[in-house]
């Protein structure tokens, strides 16, 4: 996988209006990682730390979009209520008849924060933004992974 600088983005996403929020996402997420590392003890469970990192990921996404988006407002509400962050994993268990796009919209509403209260048009808009944000967060996490693991293999001499 070619390595790309996280902030300069890549060819297939010329969406430069993300740039400022990318930085905010990165600094929020890194600060959260730092806190998690500092408050982790040798007795902290792997699963517990994973859950905290995952939560920090969605929090960074939500804060970077802030109040500007319905999905981020819904996500922030969820985070603040301290409820467990759950997203539907499985495909619907119902039989697979030919679905109209309105039925698929219902499935999509469950996947996008705040989806249930959006009309079709709004859902499509919010989904696009949510996907852009999710892919940015994934790239961020990959970048952090790469830099931490390269350090682990090649520790720098102070």
């Amino acid at each position: 996988m070619e390595s790309k600088s996280f902030t300069t983005g890549n060819r297939d996403n010329p969406n430069t209006d993300l740039h400022g929020s990318k930085n905010m996402m990165a600094s929020h997420f890194l600060r959260a990682l730092f806190r998690i590392q500092q408050t982790s003890t040798s007795s902290s469970s792997f699963a517990g730390r994973s859950r905290r990192i995952r939560r920090a990921a969605y929090a960074s996404m939500a804060y970077s979009a802030g109040a500007r988006r319905a999905w981020s407002r819904a996500l922030l509400r969820k985070l603040r209520s301290r409820a467990r962050l759950r997203f539907p994993r499985r495909l619907s268990r119902t039989a697979r008849p030919q679905r109209r796009d309105m039925d698929q919209a219902q499935v999509l509403r469950k996947l996008v924060p705040g989806g249930p209260s959006m009309d079709y048009c709004k859902l499509l808009e919010e989904t696009a933004d949510y996907i852009r944000c999710l892919t940015t967060q994934v790239r961020l996490m990959q970048t952090v992974m790469d830099s931490i693991s390269s350090y682990a293999h090649h520790p720098m001499i102070p």
Binding site: S50, C121, I148
Partner: protein, 85 residues
């Protein structure tokens, strides 16, 4: 609602749908503008689920990596990462 009005709405919806299509990775797109809205929404749902799984996976890997480093070296590297952004 006049028929003219509903035509505009339909255009708007089609535009939003094709914008979504452009966000899907190559492998998930289904031939140009011919893709039915239903298929496209289905692929969108699949893509979101896979992104959620990637976040889960990367969280686990970061957790494991952080466990192997003591507080000082992890701190230094995280700060260095921050400065590089």
């Amino acid at each position: 609602m006049s028929s003219r009005r509903s035509r505009v709405s339909e255009e708007e919806i089609n535009e939003l749908i094709s914008k979504l299509q452009s966000l899907l990775p190559e492998a998930r797109r289904r031939g140009g503008g011919r893709a039915s809205a239903a298929k496209l929404l289905k692929e969108t749902c699949n893509y979101i689920r896979s992104l959620n799984r990637e976040v889960d996976d990367l969280s686990g890997r970061l957790s494991a990596l952080m466990a192997t480093m003591d507080h000082n070296s992890a701190e230094a590297e995280i700060i260095r990462s921050l400065l590089r952004q």
